[in-house]
């Protein structure tokens, strides 16, 4: 196994990164399959199930992750890094696999959402313990001049976990119909079952690893902490550094990370209405092409220091988020495309019209739904229009269909809502969007790559696991995880600005940049052996 001079470091990095990647994969698939999971376990109209669903979303990320950081951080500082992050892996893999085995609400009633909530909380707890252990373990094996580079492999795992989760879900989905995928025992469960194989391999590899040399030395000398929580947060000198790590680095990194990888995807899907598969394709390319830069910036941080690389990533987010998202809105705007009548073509083979009849007192309303596929300079999209017409007297029967529209009793139709969906961008525009997503993930690589080395160097070995885990998970789980909630809050309060939700990540990143620039030191701590 590796020593701090870097011998055997490849094995250390591989075994640590693989496990962490799998933990991220496990955590993400739940979020990515949230709609299907909601249908299976949290049916609409059931208030208890709705409450459990909300708890599964919010409690797992906000409450349990930082709590897991405390529980496993303490364990890691008391009994060792290796045993602790082995335990988190077992908990994460086991709970993910079991989620895939829980029967749906229709089969076992309220027990289904209760079990899923419980397992999701175990996932959050395990995730809270994994990262700090893996980062500390790799850093404590690394030579001082390559600590940023070696720990940046751990930093790739959060993004690669997302990549693998997206890839597995897309591969499963591509091989079956939507109905088969979404049924109670359908394809959506496969990604959960696959987890047990991945975790099995990772546990086997991790079992062969030995304890971190710095921790083993400390333990041999009887210098390990007996109360890491008290030492980390009760001693002023250390607590001061925990606060600095959170407000001067991790909270900004958390929002940059979340906005680049999750908010961008959700914005393209919900605001721009890009079709499901193309949206994932854009993200996959963006992630795939940006991931090597974690290593580039990790290595660069060994040469020029961690501080300014992290802060530059944040500053670029502050400056470019609004222009980038504004470009998305401007370039893929079906409303504008439709207005340019000369360049619009209609695919006549895909026009569908249906009608429903509503009986209200003595009046009959006919609601006509029209769906057609349009093409604008190579960009394809679906237009759905709903028109309502009043009929002067009651008409027996329902669903009169198109014949109704010819009735002389019909009053002029009131044009209702027109919506656009399933936007498939032409190749050039798709690559432009991929480039913009890639840019945002580059900001992520800058803010995130050096952070493991930065946190490790901030705290002494005896309480390192505890001290670095808590700010990391508050920064990422709480500040990062709040991006969609605050975005919804802002867009409800300021409905005229479609980009208003971005002010939250911009504001937090700007605040963190100011604190970091003012208070952080760019000096690399060469000696973390204490």
């Amino acid at each position: 196994m590796a020593s701090p001079d870097g011998k055997g470091i490849g094995k250390v990095i591989f075994s640590s990164s693989l496990g962490t990647l799998i933990e991220w994969y496990d955590f993400y698939i739940f979020g990515m399959l949230a709609k299907t999971i909601a249908v299976q376990f949290f049916p609409e109209g059931n208030e208890t199930a709705a409450l459990l669903s909300t708890l599964a979303i919010f409690a797992a990320g906000f409450l349990v992750r930082p709590f897991g950081a405390l529980v496993f951080g303490r364990l890691g500082d008391m009994i060792g890094r290796k045993s602790t992050f082995l335990l988190t892996l077992v908990l994460m893999g086991g709970s993910t696999f079991l989620i895939g085995l829980v029967p749906g609400y229709r089969s076992i009633g309220i027990a289904a959402p209760l079990l899923v909530l419980l397992l999701r909380l175990v996932q959050g707890l395990a995730l809270g313990g994994e990262y700090g252990g893996a980062a500390t373990y790799v850093a404590e094996h690394s030579p001082a001049n390559k600590r940023g580079y070696y720990t940046s492999w751990i930093q790739t795992t959060a993004t690669l976990g997302l990549f693998v989760a997206l890839g597995v879900i897309m591969a499963v989905k591509a091989n079956m119909s939507d109905a088969t995928f979404n049924m109670e025992w359908g394809g959506w469960r496969y990604p959960f079952w696959i987890s047990i194989l991945l975790v099995g391999v990772s546990i086997y590899i991790r079992l062969k690893m030995s304890e971190s040399p710095l921790y083993a030395k400390l333990k041999k000398e009887g210098k390990t902490s007996v109360n890491p929580l008290k030492e980390s947060f009760g001693h002023r000198a250390n607590f001061k550094m925990v606060l600095l790590a959170l407000f001067g680095a991790v909270m900004g990194q958390g929002v940059i990370w979340y906005t680049g990888q999750f908010y961008a995807q959700s914005f393209l899907e919900n605001a721009i209405k890009i079709e499901f598969m193309q949206n994932r394709e854009i993200l996959l390319w963006g992630i795939g092409l940006a991931t090597p830069f974690f290593l580039v910036f990790g290595a660069l941080s060994d040469r020029i220091g961690r501080k300014w690389i992290m802060l530059t990533g944040m500053l670029l987010g502050v400056i470019f988020y609004r222009p980038i998202f504004n470009t998305f809105l401007k370039d893929a705007n079906p409303k504008q495309w439709v207005a340019d009548m000369n360049n619009i073509t209609v695919d006549e083979t895909k026009v569908k019209t249906t009608a429903d009849t509503l009986q209200l007192n003595n009046r009959t309303q006919v609601i006509t739904h029209r769906e057609r596929v349009l093409n604008y300079q190579g960009n394809q999209f679906t237009e759905k229009t709903t028109d309502t017409s009043d009929v002067s007297s009651a008409v027996p029967g329902t669903a009169p269909g198109l014949s109704m529209s010819n009735s002389n009793k019909m009053q002029p139709a009131r044009v209702g809502a027109t919506t656009y969906s399933d936007v498939v961008l032409e190749s050039g525009l798709q690559w432009k969007f991929t480039f913009l997503v890639w840019c945002m993930i580059i900001f992520v690589t800058m803010a995130y790559a050096p952070i493991a080395a930065f946190l490790v160097e901030l705290f002494p070995t005896r309480i390192r696991y505890t001290s670095m885990s808590l700010p990391y998970h508050i920064g990422n789980g709480v500040f990062g995880g709040l991006v969609p909630f605050i975005a919804t809050l802002l867009s409800t309060s300021f409905a005229n600005d479609p980009l208003v939700g971005l002010w939250y990540p911009i504001g937090i990143a700007a605040l963190c940049f100011v604190i970091g620039a003012l208070y952080l030191s760019n000096k690399i701590d060469q000696n973390i052996h204490n």
Partner: protein, 81 residues
């Protein structure tokens, strides 16, 4: 620079209660049993306010330490902690 760090400490101390105030006001204005969004449900707000209160207190302590000059000189190495 040291002076600026200390002055900014006051700002962090003011910012902390302001965050809690805005969260509480946000909760009161948006919780609505008829609403369907997450911001209309009480549970997320309870969780967020519960987790943000200690974070905001942390920011206030950070500001206090900063004002007292505790960040004027950072330790050169983690073994100084």
């Amino acid at each position: 620079m040291k002076q600026l760090k200390r002055i900014m400490g006051v700002l962090w101390m003011i910012l902390a209660p302001a965050i809690i105030y805005f969260l509480v006001v946000g909760a009161i204005e948006n919780i609505n049993p008829a609403g369907t969004k997450d911001i209309n449900k009480p549970v997320p707000w309870i969780i967020i306010i519960a987790i943000f209160t200690p974070i905001a207190i942390g920011l206030m302590i950070f500001g206090f330490y900063s004002l007292k000059g505790e960040y004027d000189q950072l330790p050169e190495s983690s073994d100084k902690l």
